[in-house]
């Protein structure tokens, strides 16, 4: 579908064994290995099949509501110009993934994967979810295509994301509570993998982020790259040139890689990925795996992980359920080590401030995940000239987060 990429490109990975440098790979139990190889074969065929992409594009347009707008955020721009040194303060644009059907970027990936599931003849769908956004998006496509669907969700997340739990049920999905470990995203992924191992013959696992065993990081990235492809065209149309800076929050890294990937070989485009720093990276309550972790193996891939010296995975913390994961996708680990993308930690408190600022100045309630990306603006805008162009990925809307935010602000609903 895409033109061949040059050899020394940032866009040519993974290699044929599924690695991004030392990261990525296929670290799964033998039971899953044949299925993973099958999935790769099927994806290679789908990649070459115009009918696959025609169906993907049609659903993107009429079911998801794409393209999502690239919106100039005038009051945020003015606000930060006012705070920045003279001559600083770039033009701020939002890539508005929160306007997608189901309220986040997650649906882009789910459409792609369910089309693959159907090609492979799989009859049942499973998925893990943290914030519930991926669960809702999966339940949505499962309903749309009439396949039964089980969503694995940590008990703690079920408690803090009640509206999304109810949405999934309305959409006909069964929500399975995961009671082990930290009862959040990591544990829901463990349980989804356990279920999958026992049901490989008829079940497709729709992984929600650009992580897991190869080919998941690649195919999730490819499906999410619609974000960056659109942003590129839209910016060229509006400003006649490429943006100077892209900013996105990184949980597993799917919205970020979706925005970044189409620009990776444009050296003039700088990129900032935001990790959740929870209570601060100097505390033990954060989810910043690049800043505070080291390479290891979990959930099928080698990547940066929060862990102790023995390789035991340590619990992540973030106010945002979608960022509350002790690892991230392998391509981000590689982009970090190669220096192509700069990764910055943002705390719960910073994200909450940005959340409110965005509501008040732009009339947009962002997801707490996206608020982490917005929270990088004070620093980034202070350093960038005012004729520069900056794009923030507003990956989702914040309706699901109002209870969490109310509690953090000490408001009783």
């Amino acid at each position: 579908m895409t033109a061949p990429t040059p050899v020394n490109s940032f866009r040519s990975l993974p290699d044929e064994t599924g690695h991004f440098g030392q990261f990525g790979g296929r670290y799964v139990a033998e039971t899953l290995m044949p299925l993973i190889l099958d999935l790769e074969k099927e994806y290679r065929k789908a990649q070459q099949d115009p009918a696959f992409w025609a169906e993907f594009d049609a659903l993107m347009k009429d079911f998801v509501g794409r393209p999502s707008p690239l919106y100039y955020a005038p009051r945020m721009t003015e606000h930060f110009r006012g705070l920045a040194p003279a001559g600083k303060g770039p033009k701020i644009y939002f890539k508005r993934e929160e306007l997608n059907h189901t309220g986040a970027h997650k649906i882009n990936n789910c459409i792609g994967q369910i089309l693959l599931a159907i090609r492979m003849g799989k009859k049942k769908i499973i998925a893990e979810t943290g914030a519930g956004q991926h669960g809702v998006a999966t339940a949505t496509v499962a309903a749309r295509f009439g396949l039964p669907c089980k969503i694995f969700m940590g008990a703690k997340d079920i408690e803090r994301q009640k509206p999304n739990v109810f949405r999934m049920k309305l959409l006909g999905a069964e929500v399975v509570s995961c009671e082990s470990g930290s009862q959040s995203l990591k544990d829901s992924m463990n349980d989804a993998l356990r279920y999958w191992v026992a049901n490989v013959h008829d079940t497709f696992y729709i992984i929600g982020t650009a992580a897991g065993p190869h080919p998941y990081p690649e195919l999730v990235r490819d499906f999410q790259s619609i974000i960056g492809k659109e942003a590129r065209e839209q910016m060229l149309e509006k400003e006649g040139r490429l943006p100077d800076m892209l900013v996105a929050a990184v949980g597993g890294g799917s919205n970020a890689i979706g925005l970044f990937h189409p620009f990776l070989d444009d050296p003039e485009v700088a990129m900032t990925g935001i990790e959740a720093a929870g209570h601060g990276i100097e505390t033990d309550k954060h989810a910043a795996s690049l800043t505070g972790g080291k390479p290891g193996i979990l959930h099928g891939n080698k990547t940066y992980l929060l862990q102790d010296e023995d390789g035991q995975i340590t619990e992540a913390h973030s106010i945002s359920a979608g960022l509350d994961y002790p690892g991230l996708g392998p391509e981000h680990s590689w982009l970090h080590e190669s220096g192509r993308v700069n990764y910055v930690p943002i705390t719960d408190t910073q994200a909450l401030e940005a959340f409110q600022l965005c509501c008040e100045l732009e009339g947009i309630i962002p997801a707490l995940e996206s608020a982490h990306a917005l929270a990088a603006l004070p620093q980034l805008t202070a350093e960038m000239d005012e004729d520069k162009l900056l794009v923030v990925n507003v990956s989702g809307r914040g309706d699901k987060d109002i209870f969490t935010v109310a509690e953090a602000l000490g408001v009783e609903l």
């Binding site: 064994t17 790979g25 296929r26 670290y27 799964v28 139990a29 033998e30 039971t31 899953l32 290995m33 044949p34 299925l35 082990s180 470990g181 990591k186 463990n190 993998l193 356990r194 191992v197 026992a198 049901n199 490989v200 013959h201 290891g296 193996i297 979990l298 959930h299 099928g300 080698k302 992980l305 862990q307 010296e309 023995d310 390789g311 035991q312 995975i313």
Partner: protein, 259 residues
């Protein structure tokens, strides 16, 4: 030189017993398994995220880690076991991340020093062998691979390549501690594996009773029992050794007299 595995499997069908390191009094529990008649010991290395394990072994991992078990403790348990039992093959079983956290070479070196004969790593398939395999082979520690109902004839050579000690046939597509597979499917699978390999084939997952163990031992070189033993450790705490010894004795009797 004959290895401990060769000696153990030469005697006829072998009973392979698994418990999680650091869950309860592991030294006393291991001794009870050997006294009961276990031919090979698998010692689980606890991990925070045991993705291939069902509830019984998941909980054992958590109990062990909550009790403060560190990697150094697992190696201490292993080397003390080796000092007490010079002939019983000892296998470490676990997940990749704790095995590579200080580097595969470090891990392989510690295995060799502690008298560990083999390693089973659940989440390193042949495709990722470079992560751990070369380091283990360099130290003459056997890499024991898993074959499953989904491992087809085309994949089997890759699974066997670089593996030694024995081949572990996971008889059900699933996590540990679930239902046992149908005997017929086990017999077919073992026949295929044995035709393709020169190393012994042990069968596990879902084996709890002497009857099951005996049926498997008629066709396979080894029978692996795990969750049933781990359950006893959970139920009986410091009194576990007597119960482990009793169950192991009945399993060993069934396995050793199967043919």
């Amino acid at each position: 030189m004959t290895t401990r595995f060769e000696t153990a499997f030469a005697k006829g069908p072998a009973l392979v017993c698994f418990i999680t390191g650091g869950d309860g009094n592991t030294a006393a529990n291991l001794d009870a398994l050997v006294e009961g008649g276990a031919d090979v010991i698998e010692l689980g290395m606890p991990f925070t995220d045991p993705m291939a394990d069902g509830p019984a072994i998941q909980e054992a991992n958590i109990r062990s880690l909550d009790a403060g078990t560190r990697t150094a403790d697992v190696f201490r348990i292993a080397s003390e076991f080796r000092a007490r039992h010079s002939q019983v093959p000892l296998v470490l079983m676990g997940y990749a991340n704790p095995m590579i956290a200080r580097g595969a070479d470090w891990f392989a070196g510690e295995c060799a020093k502690a008298g560990v004969d083999g390693v089973i790593c659940v989440d390193i398939p042949p495709e990722e062998d470079a992560e751990l395999g070369p380091a283990l082979r360099d130290k003459s520690v056997s890499l024991i691979r898993l074959a499953t109902p989904t491992t087809d004839a085309a994949r089997l050579p890759a699974v066997l390549e670089g593996s030694s000690g024995f081949l572990y046939y996971v008889s059900v597509a699933g996590v540990t501690g679930m239902q046992q597979a149908a005997q017929g499917s086990i017999e077919d699978a073992v026949a295929k594996l044995k035709a393709a390999s020169t190393i012994p084939v042990a069968v596990g997952f879902g084996v709890r009773t002497p009857e099951q163990a005996s049926a498997i031992a008629r066709v396979a070189d080894g029978v692996v029992v795990g969750s049933a033993l781990v359950d006893l450790v959970k139920q009986h705490g410091t009194d576990a050794p007597a119960h482990l010894r009793a169950l192991t004795a009945s399993l060993a009797e069934a396995v050793h007299t199967a043919r």
